[in-house]
Every structure is written in structure tokens, then in C-alpha cells.
């Protein structure tokens, strides 16, 4: 097997055995990036030289007998909305095209400590708004399984990059499905952790009460490894939780006999493709074979989730993105002659269509006279949605649903129809509103394109997800399949 087809735990074992150095692994990946990146287009910035320096450092440390993290020397990629000190962080936006952060996000500090080797910053929908990465202001990223299809979004770059073997794992962010949906479309494991599990310090905010950083990996064990590294309390994020981080690898290779799994019927609503339904049903059967008790349940407030999401997320975004005004950093229209025209021109040109649409939606929802009818009502319904989950987790260890309504779609297929694009988030946004953790993993293929299932747990029960996901993964072969890229 080639290095760029291997997982982090496999490569780590090879390095520990002295069979390969971090530098060799890094060079192999850089070479692979050169070959496939022109067709995949997942990277906004490449950081090969920094990566090689870091890889050499890791090799020296290992040679001197230091005990290293399993992620030491592992090539990784980072979504371009996570602040990296000294490395351009654009959010795939014209507004931040030349913005270089002066500080590292909390997750970057954690990954640097662990010895991760960053090969590049990854493409996304502008400011994480979108489901196909077609909203990047720079270029579109292709799905490695079929280059005429989207990789999903908004973390299309991080998904495509791992799927194509350019990096071993990546970090994305998930506000309404932006990790899980592209993971599903690219045949990867993607986890949105519990709200508060991973510090958001340094993540350029889209919707503060929904955003979480999480990993894209080739298998469940790698997801557990990355989570052990990036999860945990950070005093700089007041919404991060002071809850101990378990050793997630302890949940692997466990028996799931007697585990109770609920399947909410509302997640199999109209619009879901038949082929996806049938693959998810086969997965349910597999869980039952493994000894889980699977029952259909009802979560009645699911029906309101999209409406609630499309009020709360734009409202928070309208305020979070107000700072991009041309005054301190980022794009500024230099032709403006007064402060008002500087604001309006800068923002009219600096933001793309989708971002402006959401800012306007959110501004409207927060306006005086509309606040009670929209934002406040949405928050009240959000509480009811959370209660749906609280009730479900009184009885069930996990919930199982589809992740996306179907496999990857063609470029342009949905971008002309925003409502169908929004509707495609139906299975994922509810999870962000409830703040619970959820993981997407492959459960089959339709015409060669991967399809994912979603496992959802109670807050801070990521371990339970890993346990079930690993058991299912060990009983199936989907995670072993890699896309064939013609280079």
C-alpha cells in the first residue's frame, strides 16, 4: 500500500517501528499533491516548506527517544476558516484574500503540540456558507470519486483533500452539516463534536451557537485519535466545556450487543433518495446483526429545524460578519470617498452572493419589530428540538439516520435552486441546533459514489459513537475503498 492511501494509525505504527520517517511520508504526500491537486483543487494555500521543516523536527525528536503523539509526523490539512499564525487564512473569501492571522487557533496549538504536519489550507464555501463548495470565491473543489461532482460543503476542501489522499486527515467546521455532508459525499468519517467539546478560539465564526470544529479521517480510529488531541476545555472560549476528555481509543473494538439505537422516522422524509434509504436500511440490518436493538422513534420537532436554522444561523452571521468593514484588515474598496461608501462598497464587493443573502436574512430577522416573531420564536422552538433529543436519549444510546439526501451531485445542479440546496441539510442541521455530537461514515455506494449514515449521541457521548461506528466499520469494507484518480 502507498503511504498516501494509509491511515494515521497505520503510518504512526510504521514510524514507531522505524520503517519510515516523517520526512519520507511528508515528501510522498507532497508528491501526491502535485499529481492530483490540479484535478481535485482542494487547497487554497500550500505550506510544503513549513511541512518539511516540521517533519524533520519530528524525526529528530523521535531519534532522540522522545515519546510522540500518534499524530506526530502525520500530514494534515486545515479548513481555511481556522486561524493559522503566519499562514494566510481566507475563508475562501475575497474579503480575507490576503489576511494573515497573528495568532493560532486553539486546535492549531493542540495539533502543533502533537506534531501534526500541515500541508495546506483548504477550500470551502465562502465563510462556510453553502453545501457544495461552489460558493468559494476562488475556485470549485472536485469530488475525487467523480470529478464532475461536488465534494459537498461547506468543508468541501477538507473532505476532497483526505479522500484524494493529499493529506491523512483534515479539520473542518460544521455549523449545519458542513463536516458530515461532505464526509458522506466523499466516503469519509466526519465528526461534528458536542457543542463546547472543541474550543472555537480561532475559528472564524459563522454562527457562534452552532459552529464546531471536527475531523475528517479515513477511518474511525483516526477520528478517535484526532479528537483525543483537539478536544478539551479552553479558557479562551467561554462556551467550551470543562468536561474531561476520555481516551476515545478505549471505545474501539468493543461489543455493541444490547446497544439501543433509535431511528427517527422524521429523518426519512420526502426528498430523500430511494437508493440512500435502502443503503441506510442495510446498515440498520448490520447493526442488528451485531446485537444492537434498533427501534423506530419519533422526534416531532424535526419538521421545524430547517426554519429555525435559517433564522438563527443568518442572525448570528449578520453580526459576526459585521467586523469585515475594510477598516482594520482584509479587503477595502480604495475608491470610496467617505466612511459610508467605504462600508457599502467594501462589503458589496468583498462578499459573495450567498454571504450577502444570509447577512440580509439575519439582519431582517433581528430587526426591531421582527425580533419576537423570528429570532425569539426560533430560539423557543430550538429548546423544543433539544427536548426531543433529551427524551430520545433517555431510552436510546444512539440515533441512526442518513447524513445527506443522496450521493454527490453535479456542479450547478443545485446552485440554481437554493431551496433544494437548503433542504439537502435536513438531516444535519437539527443536530447543530441540539448541540449533540454526530458522525457520518460510509455505508455503501450508488453508481460508484459513496453514501453516508449518521450516528448521533447525547452530549459528550462521542465515545458511544466511536464504539458503534468502529464495530460497524470492522464488519464492513466500505472504508477500505479509495477513489481512483486518473493522473
Amino acid at each position: 500500500m502507498k503511504f498516501h492511501e494509509m491511515t494515521a494509525h497505520e503510518l504512526s505504527a510504521l514510524m514507531q517501528q522505524g520503517q519510515v520517517s516523517a520526512e519520507e511520508i511528508t515528501r510522498d504526500h507532497i508528491k501526491h499533491v502535485e499529481q492530483v491537486e490540479p484535478s481535485v483543487c482542494s487547497m487554497v494555500s500550500k505550506t510544503e516548506s513549513i511541512a518539511l521543516d516540521r517533519a524533520k523536527e519530528i524525526d529528530q525528536k523521535r531519534a532522540s527517544g522522545e515519546v510522540l503523539s500518534p499524530l506526530a509526523g502525520i500530514p494534515m490539512g486545515i479548513k481555511d476558516n481556522i486561524s493559522t499564525k503566519g499562514v494566510r487564512t481566507t475563508c475562501s473569501a475575497k474579503m480575507l484574500e490576503n489576511y494573515i492571522p497573528t495568532y493560532d487557533a486553539h486546535v492549531m496549538e493542540k495539533l502543533h503540540e502533537a506534531g501534526g504536519v500541515m500541508l495546506g489550507k483548504l477550500n470551502m464555501d465562502e465563510f462556510a456558507m453553502g453545501s457544495s463548495t461552489e460558493n468559494s470565491r476562488f475556485f470549485t473543489t472536485k469530488n475525487p470519486w467523480d470529478l464532475s461532482c461536488v465534494p459537498g460543503g461547506s468543508s468541501g476542501g477538507p473532505a476532497a483533500c483526505v479522500s484524494a489522499g493529499e493529506v491523512v486527515f483534515s479539520l473542518g467546521s460544521d455549523t449545519g452539516g458542513s463536516i458530515r455532508q461532505p464526509a458522506s459525499l466523499c466516503g469519509l468519517v466526519g465528526l461534528k463534536p458536542t457543542y463546547g467539546r472543541v474550543s472555537r478560539y480561532g475559528l472564524i465564526a459563522f454562527a457562534s451557537s452552532l459552529d464546531q470544529i471536527g475531523p475528517f479521517t479515513k477511518d474511525v480510529e483516526d477520528a478517535a485519535l484526532v479528537m483525543e488531541t483537539i478536544a478539551g476545555y479552553d479558557r479562551r472560549d467561554s462556551t467550551s466545556a470543562d468536561v474531561a476528555v476520555p481516551r476515545y481509543r478505549d471505545y474501539l473494538n468493543q461489543d455493541i450487543k444490547g446497544m439501543r439505537i433509535g431511528v427517527p422516522r422524521e429523518y426519512f422524509a420526502e426528498g430523500l433518495e430511494e437508493t440512500t434509504v435502502s443503503l441506510v436500511k442495510q446498515a440498520i440490518k448490520k447493526f442488528e446483526d451485531l446485537g444492537a436493538i434498533v427501534e423506530e422513534i419519533s422526534m416531532p420537532y424535526t419538521a421545524y429545524a430547517l426554519a429555525v436554522y435559517y433564522i438563527i444561523a443568518p442572525a448570528e452571521c449578520s453580526s459576526n460578519l459585521a467586523r469585515f468593514d475594510g477598516v482594520r484588515y482584509g479587503y477595502r474598496d480604495e475608491t470610496a470617498e467617505d466612511i459610508f461608501s467605504m462600508y457599502t462598497k467594501t462589503r458589496a464587493e468583498g462578499f459573495g452572493h450567498e454571504v450577502k443573502k444570509r447577512i440580509m436574512l439575519g439582519t431582517y430577522a433581528l430587526s426591531s419589530g421582527y425580533y419576537d416573531a423570528y429570532y425569539k420564536k426560533a430560539q423557543q422552538v430550538r429548546t423544543l428540538i433539544k427536548q426531543d433529543f433529551d427524551r430520545a436519549f433517555e431510552t436510546y444510546d444512539l440515533l441512526l439516520t442518513p447524513t445527506a439526501i443522496g450521493p454527490a451531485f453535479k456542479f450547478g445542479e443545485k446552485s440554481q435552486d437554493p431551496l433544494s440546496m437548503y433542504l439537502s441539510d435536513i438531516c444535519t442541521v437539527t443536530i447543530n441546533l441540539a448541540g449533540v455530537p454526530a458522525l457520518s461514515m460510509p455505508c455503501g455506494f450508488v453508481n460508484g459514489l459513496p453514501v453516508g449514515l449518521q450516528l448521533v449521541a447525547a452530549p459528550f457521548a462521542e465515545g458511544t459513537i466511536f464504539k458503534a461506528a468502529h464495530a460497524y466499520e470492522q464488519a464492513t469494507e466500505f472504508h477500505k475503498k479509495r477513489p481512483v484518480l486518473e493522473v
Partner: protein, 483 residues
Amino acid sequence: MTQYEAVIGLEVHVELKTKTKIFCSCSTEFGKAPNSHVCPVCLGLPGVLPVLNKKVVEFGIRTGLALHADINRRNKFDRKNYYYPDLSKNFQTSQFDQPICEHGALTIDLENGEKKVIGITRAHMEEDAGKLVHNGNTISVSSGSLVDYNRVGVPLLEIVSEPDMRSAEEAKAYVDELKKIIQYIDVSDCKMEEGSLRVDANVSVRPIGQIDFGTRTETKNMNSFKALQRAIDYEIARQIETIESGGTIVQETRTWDDERGMTLSMRSKEEAHDYRYFPEPDLAPIVISEEWIEEVRRQLPELPQSRRSRLVLEDGLSLYDATVITDTLAMADFYDRVRMGIDDAKSIANLLMGDLSKSLNELGSSVDESNIDPAHVIELIRLMYDGTISGKIAKQVIPEMLKTGDMPKKIVEEKGLVQMSDEGALEAIVLSVLQENPQSVEDYKNGKDKAVGFLVGQVMKATKGKANPGLVNKLLKEKLSLN
């Protein structure tokens, strides 16, 4: 002619004197080089998050307790959204519908000796904005502006009164008392000129007897107590004149132009911002425990109103004296400590308000910053009581005491300032003064009593001020009546 009455409510912003800013660990120090007290958080760089400075909440609780307000056990921050370059995030993190304090009150002393209770609607925590320097008069006509973000994130407490005041004098008394309380509880310096105390005035007028309020205006930008009073008086007069001449008052924000002595329209109600308040998603709601409140309550000093009453009722001082003594916590505490050693409130008050304050002022110092302790003053008053020194000598001792920190007794001894009370010695001096000033003796005999004063002065001069004044008077009168 219709008689009008003014209705005034005030919004007071005080800058809290925490060491660090409200949401980051930058220093709050005033007057440093532009943009030297900034970090990613207060600059609002992409991806940063606020962390609440607990001291700000403590100061909020302390202020609430001092203003007899309810402390909301659960309160929260909201975002107030508007665009301005001095705001690094284009929203101000503030408190909207759940402030830390509500329903307080403060008592002011009116000129006629009555007391009046002014209601306090609420007090809430928020962050300050930065400072713009335009190379033109305003941002819209300037060719360029510079921004200093040092003040961004300095914690503020906005204290909103009920519309309970009826004149500029009452408004001034309210701000005066509020300032005093805040200085007593040590949460702010309240320097109006430095901007650590800012007052906006809501003013309306109505015919006396009318229950409904008239339309109000909000006036900003008063930089001194004097400006506050002038602006309110101007606004009252302007509104009455407008109504009398058949016009109507427009609800608007106005700005005080100190040079021209008038208020000017800034923006109308229609142009007012829609701040689109919503709960700050980056901060958890603030939960305040009973224990915390009790702990803060225990540390509260006795407040000005209560001190004044005590000094009047128990010590027998006049309201004026009591007010002057309690003007600052330092002086009030100093008085109390001297009072423990001397059982004569009036003498203490006279000395503290008179010669001591005068000497302190000359040094530009205050009682808590000076070299002396209450023990100095106790000893000084005792020296006057036992006749060792006169009040006149005390005037010489005080500056020396402030300069060196030496005890009064030591100064008196070293400088030979002990009062001359030896009757025989003084008699000789008195006789020689009378001999040298026959004209004054003649004047006295012709009924000019003032001549005694002159002769006393001559004796004091001859003794370098050390003669016991009572004894000199007695001896002079004896000798003059013999003549």
C-alpha cells in the same frame, strides 16, 4: 401664562477601574501611546472570543448594592449592532433586557434642606469603544481618520435614572451624589474631564399639573458639571420657547456645543439606529450566587448619605460641614479616626476643612496621599487644648508636618514654637509696646476699641507669634484701663 415644569432623567456611564479590560487581559491604563493596549480579542480579529472579567461583575454588584438595587441573580450580555470605526467588531457587547442591577434609588439633599429620592431604573455592564482622530471636523467631511483602540473593551457601567429630576440643580445634585457613592465604593475614578464619567440627559417639559410626560430629547457631550447644568437649562428654555411659540418638540438626540452655549440636533428618531439586540452567543449567562453578593456586601464602606446624617445627628455638625467632610471617603475616614481621639467634632471639622485642607490644596495633595496620620492631627489639637500652641502657631505647624511627616510636638519643640504663657515676661513686653505706641493708647481712650487689635498684633510681632493671645488681651486691657 402657562407654568412649565421640567422632567429630567439621566444616563450615566462610569468607566470601571479594573486593571484589565472586560473581555481580554489588556491593560486599561489611560493615556498610553495609540494602539499599545490591544490584542486580537479587543481588536476583534477574525476568530476571537470574549472572556468575561469577573472583577467587572463584582464592581456591578457593588454598585448595585450601594444604590439599593436588586441584583439579578441571572443576567446576560447582548450584542448591540451598529457600524462605526471606533467599534472593532461593529457591535458593542452590552446588556439589553437582563441587566445586572434594577430598581435602585439614591437620595439627594435639596437646597431647602429637604431630601429627595431619585429612582434608578437599571445599571448594566458594557464595553467602551475606541477613539477617532479626524483630520477634519467630523468623520464625514474628513479626508482621513485615525483610530486608537486602547479604550475598546474598557469596562463601563451605564446607570439609568428614572425621570425623577425637575431642575438642572437636582440633576447636578444627583450626579454629584452618584459620583460620590461610586468613588466611595472604589469602582471608578469618575473623572468627567478624562471621560471616565459621562452623562447624557433626557429632558422634557410639561405644563405644571399635567400627568403625561412631554416629548423628550436626549442631550450628549457635556464634559463638566457646569456644562451639564447649562445644557439642561438651555434645553428646558428651548423646549418651553418652542411650545410657547406654537411649535412641537421633536424626539431626537442633541449634542451640547459648549462654546456656543447651545444644544444642536444630531439625529432624529427616524434616523435612530436599529441596534438589532440579541443575546451574545459567545458568552454564557452570568449566574450570581447569594454567597458572592453577601461577600461583596460585607466589603461595602458606610456610604456618604449615612455618614452625613451621622455627623449631623450624632456629632452635631452643620449639614454644610458634614457634606464637606464626607466629600471624599479618605477625608470622611480621616475625620472618624481623629474623632476617636478628640471629643470635639466642631474643632476637628474646622481644622480639617480649614487650615489642613488649605495646606493640602497648596501641595496638590489629599489626606490619603499625604505624610500624616490621624495621630498627627490628634496631637496637634491636644497641643492647642493644653495651651502649648495657639491656633496661629498651628497654622505654621501644619505645612511643616505635611512636608516632613514629623509629629507636631517635635516640630513645636525643634522650632521653638511653644506659646509664651509666662505672665511676668509678657507683662514687660506689653508695657514696652504701650510705650512705643502712644497714639494707639490715645485712640483707645477716645473710644476706638480697634486700637486693641493693633496693639495685640504688635505684641505678637515682638514675640514672633508665640505669645498666648488670650493672655496678651487680658494684660493689655488691664494696662490700658490703668492708664
